[in-house]
Each structure stands twice: as C-alpha cells, then as structure tokens.
Symmetry: C2
Subunit: 289 residues, 2 copies
DNA sequence: ACGCCCTTGTGAACGTTTGCACAAAGTCGC
DNA sequence: GCGACTTTGTGCAAACGTTCACAAGGGCGT
C-alpha cells in the first residue's frame, strides 16, 4: 500500500494496523530463507543466523518478528517450522490466491513459467493477451485467452490479484478494467504510473527505475574515485575503442566527463530524446513452439 | 550500496551523500513523466501537475527537486526540457552504461527486448547464458555468448552494471564472478539474497516478494470486511500450534474463509512447501527454432 | 512602475524506521 | 535445584522521511 514509488495513500487506510510496512516488506525474505533452512534440515535458528542469511541486522529481525508475536524461545532461538507457519499466516499465504496475468509477451511468459509462483499460495488463474496470434497458444500449461475476457475471468476464478505485463500503452486500460471487475491488488510491470482509486493497492516492478538507481550510485562511486585521480587502466581505454559505438557523435555538452574510463556521452539524446519505447513487456513474437 | 555496517557514524553529519535515497528512488519516475510531457509538447510544468502525474504529493516533489538545485521559476513552474536534463545528469544518464545480462531465459529475453533499455543511457553490452542450446542464438540483435565469458565481457566492454537473470541456484556464483571481474553494481532478479562485499551495490527485483506483500494487504482487507465471522486469528493458531508441530499446522486452520468467496486452502503446501522451484528466470527452452 | 497573484523553495513539526543496549526469560551442565 | 550462559523481546534515542504552511521571489496586467 505504500513502500516505494508506487505509494499512493491519499487519505484513509493509513498504517494504523499492527505491522509496519517496512516489516511486511521483509517478511517474504525471511520466509524464503526459512524455507531454505527447513529444506536443509535445520530445525532451530537464532536471530543472528537468520538475520545474516536474510541480509539484515539481527535487532531489526527480532523487532520485525516481535510484531507477529513472541514466537521465539529465549536462550535457544526460533523453531524453523513454526516460524514458517506464523510468517506464512501473517502474510496471508495460508490461503490460495488466484492470480490473473494480463499480457503474454516475454515477461508474461517468464512469470507464467515461474515455479515459485504456484508454490507459495499463488496460482495462475488465467493468462490473457490481446494479440490474436498469441491467444490460443499454451504457456506453462495455460491456454492463453483473449484479453476481452478480463471481467469474465475475474468473476469466474474469484481473482483478487491482477498482474499487468502489457506494454505501457495498454496498462492503464487493463488496470481500469481489472479495478472495475473488482480486483483490488495489482502488480504492475508496465513502466507507467497507474491511476487508481484509493482503495486499490498497486505495486510496481520497474526494471528501468532500478537500473537508473544503480547508475546514480555507480556515478557517485566513479566521481569519488576520480578525486584520487585513479589510474585508468589501459584496458579501459581499449574497451572504448573495441566496441563499435552505434553512431554517437556525442556532441559533448558543456561538460567533458570521463567516468570509469571515458564513456561516450549521450546527452543530446538525454535532452532531446523522447522515445515512447517504454515497453519491455512486449516482444510478442511467435512462441517458439 | 549495501546498507549496513559499511558506514561508520563518527560525525553526526546527516546524509553522508548529497541526495536522500528516497529521493533518488523517485527521480526516475519524474524523469519518465517528464519525457512523456516533452513528447506531448508541454514546455512548462508546475510542481502540482508533475506531482499528480508521478503519483506523489507536490510538497514531496518540490523537496526532491530542491536537492538538485533551484531549477524552477516561481510563479511559473519548471521548464520541462531543462528539468529532464538536470534529472538525467544527476542520475548519471548523460553517460553511456554498458550492461551485461547473464541468463537468457524468458526473463533475460524480456529484458533484452526492452526498448527503454537502450533509450535512456543503458546499452546491452552482451547477453550470456550457460545453456549450450541457447548460446549462439540471436536475441534482440545480440548473439548469446557463453557464461564462461563473464570476465572477458566485463573487461572488453567496460561493464559497470551486471544483471543477473539466472535461476536462483546459479545466482551467487554468477554474482561472485561479476564482482571478481570488477562489477560494482548488480541488478538481481534471482530470488536469493546475494552475498557481496560492502562496496558492491545490489538491487533486487523479486516478483514473489511483491506478490506476498500484495497478499498481506489483500488479506487484511478481506479480514476487515468480515468483522463478523471469526475473531482476528492471533491466539487461535498459537493454541493449536503449541509446540513442535512438525507435521501439520495446516490441519489447524481450515476455518471459514469467506472473504471474497470460498477459496481453496492450500495450507499444507504453505508449510511443507520447501521446493527449490524458486526460478522464474528459467524456462530456457529453444528460442525461435 | 507597481501591485496582484501564482508557484517555488524551505523551516519546522510530525511520523516512521533503525540500531543500541539491556533486562527478562529460558536452557544446560553439574 | 541452582547458577552460568545464551538469546529473545523491547525501551529509547537517533536517523530518516513526509507533510504542512508560509515567506521569498518572479511574472503579468494595468
């Protein structure tokens, strides 16, 4: 409901419920680690171990778990199986969640083939696409159906969670139809900001944004390294020469940068650029079958 | 950068880097919206409009932008083109970032076909996979190369950002090799917690976690909607669970879930689960052949 | 030139999240 | 049965993030 750029919480439904959002976001990680431990036969785990495996601070982990109740044993730790159950229950994974996937491009296919999907309480109810060339094909044992059937599928399978894996241009429309059909939880892979009523929970997964955040930190790192006049290894320069830059006149703007080894500036694009090619969900060529 | 013990805190000098993380995470969203506006010919935008389009509060937007400098004009708003340039520059998108993708399953293919990839300063340097059946095939104009060439590719293309789109089991190994080869920014799609040195920046994109967070809120919503049915769990499960109930905590909760119509319980799985099917990055069947 | 109106930029209040440090509460050896 | 040891659960304070509210500043009409 909040967390992240998809946050949208104008008025009500604040976090007056028990568990902090930050904690909820970490519970699935703990759960995954716990499953792994259970698989390896581990029966008991301390907050220190579990925290290390989950990549967090142990105090944070204990505080997180304390929101679910006192399920540990002092001097010993937590019972893995018991904790798995408690976390699963808190997350609502002890019930079955039929999920509707709209968009059967590369991404939709990747999702449909995701094994962990079915294994944790989520089940693909249906897979829809609007491309007549894809409708009717079988992906991961599901026959792709027409996107016209959104409302019907939601009703028929009692879908509570919708996944939008369509191109950006189609996303809002699909979203509107999902919401109108009664879906209140949406996972959006399309690179657009969806407009929804305040009682709808949208979470966004966006490759492009993550890359840009990485780029920011990478840039800072190299900028810092440059202060020490880091010796730019010979191979860096060679790397530049080696790759055939696709046409980058790079009419250098007011700044000559030289990041990790001089990187071709592409600022003309950055400013003039426009590009409505924000679709990584497309790639709808024929299925290899 | 991996949050944690990496940063000491001798001096209470607030943010030891200029821009708050929360702001950095939102800048790409603003940027996308700005591009859309520029495409539509909008030349000037107010914080109110931009905020609405980006799905945030206008005060937050102004504060975010104020971290980059004073690029607005009071009484008027922001110049779209100028702001695009400033945000791009701040994010480091005015330079070219060669990206290495490891794993050419469905997800890797979806990424490779993502148009927005190349359009914002990111360029696919190479696409690797370890499946001999995939190596040599062409995806989005890139010939898939062997995963053995990680080190070589990083060196040759001066790769700064690595994308891990492999099955979970292979992820840590690939990660180690990327780091050893000098990559300091990693985008991980595999559902595992990667272990990296503190100077490596890892970002995770995890479908399963997002779904689980959605499920939590959805459950809460339906639980609230049925105030009548049952007392809000909690001590219920604790009673039955008591102590070591290795076998079937599942048998304990087939209570009336009447939320959005009866849903098939799948609780035995929720606990017994295990499963190493945490790979939504697989699905590496033949490509177009 | 001047005053009105609009929007930015920001100080300050408020809420959330993190991390420390330690008492409470349990186990284990003897 | 008891003391030493281990680990949980939590009070507290600092760090971080969000939101409000408004003064500062700039354009525009007259």
């Amino acid at each position: 409901m909040s967390r992240g750029p998809s946050a949208r919480r104008p008025a009500p439904a604040g976090n007056h419920h028990g568990i902090p959002d930050a904690t909820v976001a970490r519970l699935p990680v703990y759960l995954r680690v716990l499953y792994g431990m259970a698989d390896r036969g581990v029966t008991t785990v301390s907050s220190e171990e579990l925290a290390a495996a989950a990549g967090v601070n142990s105090a944070k982990l204990r505080k997180d778990l304390s929101h679910l109740g006192s399920y540990g044993t002092r001097g010993v730790g937590y019972d893995v199986e018991y904790l798995v159950y408690q976390v699963s229950r808190e997350l609502g994974l002890t019930q079955d969640w039929p999920v509707l996937i709209v968009g059967a491009g590369n991404l939709g296919r990747a999702l449909a083939n995701y094994g962990g999907f079915a294994s944790r309480g989520f089940r693909i109810a249906a897979l829809l696409d609007c491309d007549p060339g894809v409708v009717g094909t079988v992906i991961a044992r599901h026959t792709v159906r027409s996107a016209d059937e959104i409302e019907e599928a939601v009703r028929k399978f009692d879908v509570a969670i919708g996944v939008i894996a369509t191109p950006a241009a189609a996303a809002q429309n699909v979203c509107n139809r999902l919401v109108a059909a009664g879906v209140r939880s949406i996972l959006n892979f399309a690179p657009v900001v969806l407009n929804v009523p305040s009682d709808v929970d949208v979470r966004k997964v966006d490759l492009s944004i993550e890359l840009q955040i990485l780029a920011f930190h990478a840039q800072r790192r190299t900028a810092a390294a440059r202060l020490f006049d880091l010796p730019p290894g010979g191979d860096l320069a060679r790397g530049i020469a080696a790759r055939g830059l696709p046409a980058s006149p790079a009419a250098a703007s007011p700044n000559g940068r030289s990041g990790r080894g001089a990187r071709a500036a592409a600022e003309s694009r950055a400013v003039a650029g426009s590009g409505s090619e924000d679709d990584y969900t497309t790639g709808a060529q024929a299925v290899g079958t």
